[in-house]
């Protein structure tokens, strides 16, 4: 008897999808069961990595370069834990959000998306990543269109096509790397890759493909309509996890594969795009009239912060400072995952109660749902980067490093984004404080309100206050 947690982290949601497809009448119960099982697997796997360091499993026993393997190190496990907890909360929420017919469609696609996410965070093979990306893109687009409105279908068709363009470009880069080096395993490639036209072209192709999927400014144009029109639990997963997966891949390739190839200028290109995203996304969020559109633009802005990290990473010499910076980036991504998911779930409740999500008319609904409003507030704390959220710590470390390296202009961008974020969050919260009677029951519907509240709470308090384990975890992987 041998238990390969890496394989199970992908296989459980896959089997779950199979089972709920075959027996749609029990979709909710079986779906939730697979969700719990998958999350437990990922948590146990992460705990193992946290204690004993990274693990790798080669399927078929062939090993790289011939076979494919999965690998869990600190970086992948950090993202894995975040996405599985978020996904579990989304699952619980979705359990009572969807109608009976929508449920039949939601669960199998959702579990397929989940297995793609887990597979992506653990993957080590460039072509395998392509298949995983497609699985992710297809299931995400299908889920996004579940609300069935014309706007949602159109926006998600656009998303699907843009995603395909990104995958094809990525695949061209992979083909180039294979033709030169004859392998696909990231670890083996990293040992032989050398600066030169082949590696540069491959990197440019793969990164520009992934930028499309990560909705990096100015390639974000597909995101706001797609995320704002999807059903609330799907928006949460798309915004919190799916774009984050593309960023994770950029970071992973940056650190593990292209490290010998890249330089400060290319990092500056990434940083500039990130800065554009921070300012443009925040500004658009401030001007947004609908709550979910605001959240979607806020995602564009938050993705920008993550890309600002690249010039800082390049400027910082290897050592403790760089490790801290990297941990800060991961913490930022994790916090945003929790916060944005919590925000979208709560926004979905407000929308359901009010029948719309126009910000200026939400006062009454916000009053009727104190728990959801509170969740939006807590998630807002994390989105702005107020202490003690994880974003706050991450920004602190990023700004500190930027100042030490003399790169003060990134500080200006981060601060400007913070101010704008405060402006758009408090624009929403201001409507919640009028004098209508607050019901004594704080939580109206535990199944939907508690997941939102928990996610927001984790983002605002837990991640910042107990960030130390994350540092330990990251020491086990890419940093060690």
């Amino acid at each position: 008897m041998m238990i390969d947690l890496l394989a199970l982290a992908v296989a459980f949601p896959l089997l779950g999808a199979v089972v709920v497809t075959a027996t749609p009448s029990h979709a909710r119960g079986l779906g939730l069961a697979s969700a719990v099982l998958t999350t437990l697997t990922s948590l146990v796997l992460s705990l193992g990595v946290w204690r004993d360091g990274s693990v790798r499993s080669d399927f078929g026993g062939w090993g790289a370069p011939l076979g494919i393997g999965l690998q869990a190190d600190g970086l992948s496990v950090a993202m894995l834990v975040m996405s599985n907890l978020v996904a579990l909360a989304v699952s619980v929420y979705a359990g009572s959000y969807f109608s009976a017919t929508a449920r039949r469609h939601f669960w199998p696609l959702w579990l397929l998306l989940w297995s793609a996410l887990n597979g992506l965070f653990l993957a080590t093979d460039l072509f395998n990543l392509y298949v995983t990306l497609e699985l992710l893109g297809l299931s995400a687009a299908a889920l996004g269109a579940l609300s069935g409105t014309r706007a949602a279908v159109a926006a998600n068709l656009r998303y699907l096509l843009v995603g395909l363009l990104g995958s094809m470009t990525y695949l061209m880069g992979v083909a180039l790397l294979y033709s030169r080096y004859g392998m696909l395993d990231i670890g083996l490639l990293a040992e032989v890759i050398e600066p030169g036209l082949v590696a540069w072209t491959a990197m440019a192709l793969m990164f520009s493909g992934l930028f499309l999927k990560a909705a990096l400014f100015p390639m974000h144009f597909w995101l706001p309509p797609a995320h704002a029109n999807a059903p609330a639990p799907v928006s949460a997963a798309l915004s919190a996890l799916v774009v984050k997966a593309a960023f994770y891949l950029v970071l992973r390739l940056w650190l593990d594969l292209f490290d010998p190839v890249l330089n400060a200028s290319v990092a500056n290109v990434l940083g500039l795009l990130g800065a554009g995203a921070v300012i443009w996304g925040s500004w658009r969020a401030l001007r947004a009239e609908r709550l979910k559109l605001l959240a979607a633009y806020s995602t564009v802005a938050q993705m920008g912060y993550l890309f600002i990290a690249f010039p800082l990473l390049v400027a910082t010499p290897p050592g403790l400072a760089r490790d801290n910076l990297l941990a800060a980036v991961v913490l930022l991504a994790m916090t945003h995952g929790f916060a944005k998911a919590g925000f979208f779930l709560a926004a979905g409740l407000v929308q359901k109660t009010a029948g719309h999500d126009r910000i200026n008319e939400l006062g009454g609904a916000a009053q009727a749902l104190p728990a959801a409003t509170f969740a939006i507030g807590l998630a807002g704390v994390a989105l702005i980067g107020l202490p003690p959220s994880g974003t706050f710590l991450a920004k602190w470390i990023m700004i500190e490093q930027a100042m030490i390296q003399g790169l003060w202009w990134w500080v200006v961008v981060i601060m400007l984004g913070t101010l704008l974020a405060a402006a758009y969050i408090f624009r929403v919260l201001g409507h919640a404080f009028n004098r209508e009677p607050t019901p004594y029951r704080f939580v109206n519907d535990a199944r939907t309100e508690i997941p939102a509240l928990l996610l927001a709470f984790i983002s605002a308090f837990v991640l910042g206050l107990i960030a130390q384990p994350l540092w330990t975890l990251l020491d086990q992987g890419v940093l060690g």
Binding site: L8, T21, G61, L66, F127, T132, L146, V153, T201
Partner: protein, 226 residues
């Protein structure tokens, strides 16, 4: 509305990128050497099948193939989630109907052959599944609203069969101590055929169902429709 200058600029930029691509690929092809060919060909005898491509697909890189079957399932589920199917075609004329009656069994026969041939020659689950799907499409073109597919319960089961068998084999092998998708010596051939058979059925059913588009209707309504 596309600005005119963009229409001019896009080809120019693309040509530049193309030049770089050709150059990079030339460099890469010249320096590439044997790549994985030697390693892969050397290991083919251990893989349980003699066709190198099938060895790669179902043994060396079986995990890719598993995910690929999952992608196919995702597409089908996505199509189902978009609402009911388009109305059926008109029933075929007697001549076409007669031809369909000939072609469909032939297609199904070739499916079996393709599947079997994949072990040693070009062929395999996807080619076989495509033929099976073609049989369904042919039926649909002839006016069969269900494209020869079974009712909802069985249709759902058949469409997930590939992923189910693939994953289950993987997990069971893991539980037996061999590792996920690691075939024990001597069993590889039969396991691969088992998986391929399931995958062929799923792929065929999925392609036909995707051609119809729309959710599967439950059995009674679909029978009355045909």
């Amino acid at each position: 509305m596309t600005p005119a200058w963009a229409k001019v600029l896009i080809p120019i930029v693309l040509i530049a990128i193309g030049a770089v691509l050709v150059w990079a690929f030339s460099l890469a092809a010249l320096e590439g050497g044997d790549r994985l060919a030697l390693i892969a060909l050397e290991r083919v005898p251990e893989s349980g099948v003699s066709n190198p491509i099938t060895s790669v697909l179902l043994n060396f890189r079986a995990y890719d193939t598993l995910l690929e079957v999952a992608v196919l399932l995702t597409a089908l589920l996505g199509i189902w989630s978009l609402g009911p199917a388009a109305p059926a075609f008109q029933p075929a004329s007697p001549i076409l109907g007669g031809m369909i009656a000939w072609v469909v069994p032939l297609l199904i026969l070739s499916t079996g052959y393709m599947l079997w041939a994949g072990g040693h020659a070009p062929g395999g689950a996807f080619q076989a599944g495509a033929l099976l799907g073609a049989a369904g499409v042919t039926l649909a073109l002839g006016g069969d609203a269900s494209a020869g597919l079974p009712g909802e319960t069985r249709l759902r089961f058949l469409s997930v069969l590939g992923v189910l068998v693939f994953t289950a084999v993987g997990v069971i092998l893991m539980a037996l101590g061999y590792g996920f998708l690691t075939y024990p010596e001597g069993y590889a051939k039969w396991l691969i055929i088992f998986i391929e058979t399931a995958a062929t059925l799923s792929i065929g059913v999925t392609l036909a169902a995707a051609y119809l588009g729309g959710e599967p209707r439950d059995e009674r309504t679909s029978r009355s429709a045909t």
